[in-house]
Symmetry: C2
Subunit: 204 residues, 2 copies
């Protein structure tokens, strides 16, 4: 029915949508074919099989993840400004409905395709943590941050920032995140991260 190089793209789009909705086992090649407007043998000719198609889809998604989030010109701004921009940008990307759905898909299939789980962690969370850790490192050198392991710091800031909302989305407690609520969580996260919540200070 469809012709030329559009076929691959159509199959990939249909496959991504269906896998995200139904998971690997819940998705049939029949349905992908139907949604892409092609026949089953076409899919087998192009991608080999269901598993290979699945890996291909998620692998290309991972490849697209490696986008820098921190502004490279961040070094002449205050710690709080940079963190705020980062928090806004990162949450806007990561708490998007479809991104969370893909996140869920990777969680679901990390057992069946362990190399895919690791790949996603490296290309997604890990690469952001690395970027953030390098930034923290510079600010530690400048004496703005205490000398805490920057990698662990990055992981924990990320957890602090994303988890409360993402958890609710993952369990279908909320359908999507409205930017007002996200903003609140961002501010609390930054405040907590920089100053803690204790009234009685424990150091000078």
């Amino acid at each position: 029915m469809r012709r030329g190089g559009f076929v691959r793209q159509a199959v990939e789009d249909a496959a991504r949508a269906t896998f995200v909705e139904r998971g690997f086992e819940g998705t049939s090649v029949d349905e992908i074919a139907r949604r892409a407007g092609v026949s089953k043998p076409t899919i087998y000719a192009h991608f080999g099989g269901k598993s290979e198609l699945f890996v291909h889809i998620l692998e290309s998604y991972c490849a697209r993840l490696l986008t820098p989030i921190l502004d490279s010109a961040a070094d002449d701004r205050t710690l709080e400004e940079v963190l705020r921009d980062f928090a806004r940008g990162y949450t806007r990307i990561v708490l998007d409905r479809e991104v969370v759905a893909l996140h869920r898909l990777f969680v679901s299939e990390a057992q069946r395709f362990p190399e895919l789980g690791r790949r996603y962690y490296d290309a997604g969370p890990q690469s952001v943590h690395d970027e953030l850790a390098r930034f923290f490192n510079r600010r530690i050198a400048l004496g703005e941050l205490r000398e805490v392991d920057p990698q662990r710091l990055a992981e924990q800031f990320s957890g602090l920032l994303l988890t409360p909302i993402r958890l609710k989305m993952l369990f279908a407690v909320i359908d999507e995140s409205d930017s007002e609520t996200v903003g609140l969580y961002c501010e609390t996260a930054i405040d907590l991260f920089l100053s803690g919540v204790s009234r009685s200070r424990r150091r000078g």
Copy 2:
């Protein structure tokens, strides 16, 4: 083959193990029957069908989740002591291999069984956050904590504490959490939560 009241228990155990390993779609009633040492019609007689069995298994898991984690006699101890005990106890429970596997299962099937996802969130994370928020509230009243929304504070402390390690387990980056590493993350989390990481103080 098996007789009496043991049958239900055997089926439930086999079902939980298989669902956790393979997910809902990846699990066949045949395999549950084989692992439980019973025949398929026995399972249908007891539980109705595959979906009902799945819901039953996860629902009873949720019912068992509602265990208080915070020591009720916590009020005569320092904030830091209570948080440390909480962090140790909570991570020991939640970062267990099988608990993470069940967490993954709820994430995976929260679309197909939305009421189950909500039920898990309420009985698990939410109930812990509630408990923690009540504790924070008392410490705010005592003037030990700044006046921040205690519910949001609880969610963010939880994310700060659990996410770095749980994320790696969910994506099969690490197989399990060793208690030494968990201890490190606990200490950093508590320190961060109480005092932040900024060297230049922003308030009195």
